[in-house]
């Protein structure tokens, strides 16, 4: 009950906070969060440039895995390990401390240094835990290497009995500082949770601008996972709908009504902006493409013989029937292995989620909770499905745990839509109406930690979908 009131209050307060990146944080969950602190990095003037430690702080704070301390509680802000006073930090009961600096090297080159300091070993002397935490040091270091950054194993790093869990430096341009913050957050997340972070991933959505006197405009957008660095790919005054990521995360499939107001299926490369018409299917297309995990085909919904069926379309538009029945079959979403699809069907009267097993061609009903469950999407491991659950008056995001056979409703906004999992499956992205506009929210699976993506102007951000990588 307290949680509900908190969320309601936060939503009421929202209009005043519009524009701020961080609006709502509820971390009073039952789940144990890893206590850490991310201290401000030393940085050169001008102070207006990206605050790398703030990026790391935000990433970790809203991941649902960490309890990140308020830096106002501290009066020591070391930036190198030798200045860390372990006696001081012992008072705060933290597992780890993130410290670092950004150093201008001239010529638009900046060196970003960070250290993840182990405070846990001082808290409890547990040698086995210590070893296992440090053993993943090398693998985490290797994944960071990329053409735009340099990663160095620190000579100070000593896995045997070190205060250092991670220590690296990167040299980047000023415009890449935000990305480096996300990369560091990924490394820390991996180090402390044992799972990959998702902070360098992308999201896609459709932004709809509505004004009274002119036609609405629809923009196909891509952005960083946290709503920064938005990029419009296509703008149209006819609807653009249901974007879907390719398995490699480099392309989107989507529906556009730009040609005579009739739907057609396109793909677009988000880097080259190259666009490809898959087909218009003589106006029978009903949206919701889903890329097969091998990238060769798209499952799409089509109107056929009075019903809505799901076919497989090759990238050249050649169709093969996949799922059909009386009534509606739509909103396909693939299991990452390609072995099964979840889809929405009203074949038994009300819209429910069903699963098609590709090998056996068997169809099995998955949802029985209430009369409305649609828009299912698998977790990366395929052990869970997020969906839109209607209770007769409201729509919320539901979570179906296939292993535990458990169904929970994880939002209480009553106007939620379009859920999808983060690449590591630990948080979800969805849209909901707030202060007059549809906004994007990232929330933990227990619904307790939520990040509202920055208000990006007077548009409705709809049909969000998280990239698979």
């Amino acid at each position: 009950m307290k949680k509900i009131i908190l969320i309601c209050l936060s939503i009421l307060i929202l209009p005043q906070l519009a524009g701020a990146a961080l609006n709502l944080k509820l971390t009073k969950g039952i789940k144990a969060l890893i206590p850490i602190a991310v201290l401000p990095f030393a940085k050169p003037t001008p102070q207006s440039m990206t605050d790398v430690s703030a990026v790391i702080n935000q990433d970790l704070s809203y991941s649902g895995q960490f309890s990140v301390s308020n830096n106002a509680d501290f009066n020591q802000f070391p930036i190198i390990l030798s200045n860390v006073n372990f006696d001081y930090w012992q008072n705060y009961n933290l597992n780890a401390l993130v410290i670092g600096s950004v150093v201008a090297q001239g010529g638009n080159q900046y060196q970003v240094n960070f250290t993840l300091v182990n405070l846990f070993k001082n808290k409890i002397s547990d040698a086995s835990e210590q070893t296992s935490v440090n053993s993943s040091n090398n693998s985490a270091t290797n994944t960071i290497a990329s053409p735009t950054t340099t990663a160095n194993n620190s000579p100070e790093s000593n896995p045997a009995n070190s205060a250092i869990l991670l220590q690296q430096s990167f040299v980047v341009k000023q415009s890449d500082l935000r990305q480096v913050g996300h990369k560091i957050a990924n490394l820390i997340y991996q180090q402390l949770t044992g799972q990959p972070g998702y902070f360098t991933s992308k999201i896609a959505y459709v932004a709809v601008k509505r004004n009274l006197n002119i036609n609405p405009s629809y923009s196909l957008m891509v952005a960083d996972y946290d709503g920064y660095d938005t990029k419009p790919l296509i703008i149209s005054n006819e609807p653009i709908a249901t974007p879907a990521w390719s398995p490699q995360g480099d392309q989107l499939a989507y529906i556009s009504y730009e040609n005579k107001g009739l739907p057609a299926l396109y793909t677009i490369n988000i880097n080259s902006m190259q666009r490809h018409l898959v087909g218009s299917f003589t106006g029978s297309l009903e949206g919701t493409p889903a890329w097969s995990p091998d990238g060769s085909k798209l499952a799409i919904a089509l109107s056929k013989h009075g019903s809505t069926v799901i076919d497989l379309a090759s990238l050249q538009g050649h169709l093969t029937p996949l799922i059909s029945s009386w009534g509606i079959n739509t909103e396909p979403s693939w299991l990452k292995t390609g072995d099964a699809l979840v889809f929405t069907s009203n074949r038994n009267g009300t819209p429910q989620l069903y699963q098609l097993d590709i090998a056996s061609q068997e169809v099995k009903q998955l949802t029985y909770n209430g009369n409305y469950n649609t828009t299912g999407s698998y977790s990366p491991l395929g052990d869970k499905i997020v969906l839109v659950h209607g209770d007769g008056a409201n729509y919320n995001i539901g979570l179906l745990d296939l292993t535990l056979q458990q169904f929970t409703v994880i939002t209480n906004s009553n106007v939620a839509n379009s859920p999808s999992f983060s690449p590591n499956g630990n948080v979800i992205l969805y849209s909901t109406l707030m202060s007059g506009h549809e906004e994007l929210i990232i929330t933990s699976l227990d619904g307790l930690t939520s990040l509202i993506l920055p208000n990006l102007g007077n548009s409705d951000k709809v049909q969000p979908t998280w990239s698979p990588v």
């Binding site: 902006m273 649609t374 008056a393």
Partner: protein
């Protein structure tokens, strides 16, 4: 399907939404005239604005029953309401007497819930009108269907907007 929320505290919202949807409808009616979709892509490669000209929508017949171009459905149903049977019969007569006429049935659904499901529901509404016209003897080649689902509707705000559960009848040039 969703039914209307009964909370009295949301009455003002209902009124607001109704006014908004009416305004939207009016503007939609006003712009059945020619329009062209402007599609442009922004970013690398100096992408040039992509302009696509749409086929002209003609006004078609407007006398009496023929002027009824919005068929409002029960939001829990995809069956054409019986109150439109006479209007649909009049359209059928016109189409049979005017073999060159081409009618597009545009299906719409209320916002909220699965977008793909809404597109399918709206398609079934349009199909219900198409079936009725064909039962009256209209040549199927004169009828086409497009479903917009709730893509043109304002986001779901807790109230089902009944005016969005409809089929629009739009005459087009060949």
């Amino acid at each position: 399907m969703m039914r209307n929320n009964q909370f009295s505290s949301k009455i003002s919202l209902v009124i607001y939404s109704s006014i908004m949807s009416l305004l939207l409808l009016l503007s939609a009616c006003a712009r059945q005239s020619p329009s062209s979709a402007v599609v442009r892509s922004i970013g690398v490669n100096n992408y040039k604005p992509r302009v696509v000209k749409t086929t002209k929508f003609t006004l078609g017949p407007n006398q009496g029953l023929l002027g009824i171009r919005h068929y409002y459905f029960d939001c829990q149903s995809t069956l054409m309401p019986s109150q439109y049977q006479n209007a649909a019969k009049a359209q059928a007569s016109y189409l049979k007497n005017t073999p060159s006429a081409r009618l597009q049935l545009q299906g719409y659904a209320a916002a909220g819930g699965g977008e793909g499901y809404n597109i399918a529901i709206a398609d079934q509404r349009a199909r219900s009108v198409a079936n009725y016209l064909q039962l009256q003897g209209v040549n199927p080649e004169q009828i086409s269907i497009v479903s917009y689902g709730s893509l043109k509707a304002k986001p779901f705000n807790g109230q089902v907007i009944a005016k969005n559960c409809r089929v629009d009848l739009v005459y087009r040039e060949i």
